[in-house]
Symmetry: C2
Subunit: 141 residues, 2 copies
């Protein structure tokens, strides 16, 4: 991989932490005409989630189902709002090694399984306050 090859291929989604996902989905549907949006339970992440397509990317609404999770604490501290963004990458394990070599602070040093493929988070202290998820969606479960 060339040193300056672009790692981030695409903005996969923006996640928005909310208190009431039914109410939120209804608002975004009514306001922006987004069509049908399914709400799914994601027990292993202790959230309820919904994806809404906007052009080539997605809004991901997440409602915590457990007050001890990071998403619940985010809402408690900062209120509802944008929680993280996610870039699509190729070869996630290699990408994480490359970032670690550069000294980038990571939350996940190795890929773990997410809903849309293997995922990892970069620490917001590294990225000027932005929690960034990387996903390799070729590695779907």
């Amino acid at each position: 991989m060339a040193e300056q090859a672009c790692i981030a291929k695409h903005l996969h989604h923006i996640a928005i932490a909310v208190k009431d996902i039914e109410d939120t989905v209804k608002f975004y549907q009514d306001t922006f005409g987004l069509g049908k949006i399914d709400i799914v339970e994601v027990p292993d992440q202790k959230v309820r989630a919904a994806l809404a397509k906007i052009g080539g990317t997605e809004l991901e609404f997440i409602q915590p189902t457990d007050p001890t999770t990071g998403v619940a604490q985010f809402i408690e501290k900062r209120g509802e709002g944008m929680h993280h963004i996610c870039f699509e990458v190729d070869h996630l394990a290699d990408t994480l090694k490359r970032l670690e070599t550069k000294g980038t602070r990571l939350i996940d040093k190795t890929p773990r399984q997410g809903l849309a493929g293997t995922i990892a988070f970069i620490h917001p202290a590294a990225t000027r306050g932005v929690l960034i998820e990387l996903v390799d969606s070729h590695a779907k479960r």
Copy 2:
């Protein structure tokens, strides 16, 4: 326009409020291999700004140049991080009228001139904490 026509055509950009735009741009270039990113002065918005393309959308970094601006106050209160997202729309004036009719709380009830076209902001109290900009980029200055 049909009631359920999708207003948001595309995610135009995500804006990230930062304290030091040179340092931020260097970090994102080095970390994600984003290539050349120009920093521009935007005196009427009292920010310095830089756009970085990620697939079909853009990251917009904004550094306030005046401590009294909303962006400066955002950083003061919440730290650096995601400030707003922007959806591309057609017919912005009509869209704002439609949103107002629905009771959506708006910051701008009529379009004003922005960098990429005519723009308007929806109040984050309406959108579950997300400051949403709408842009009609066909209406460039």
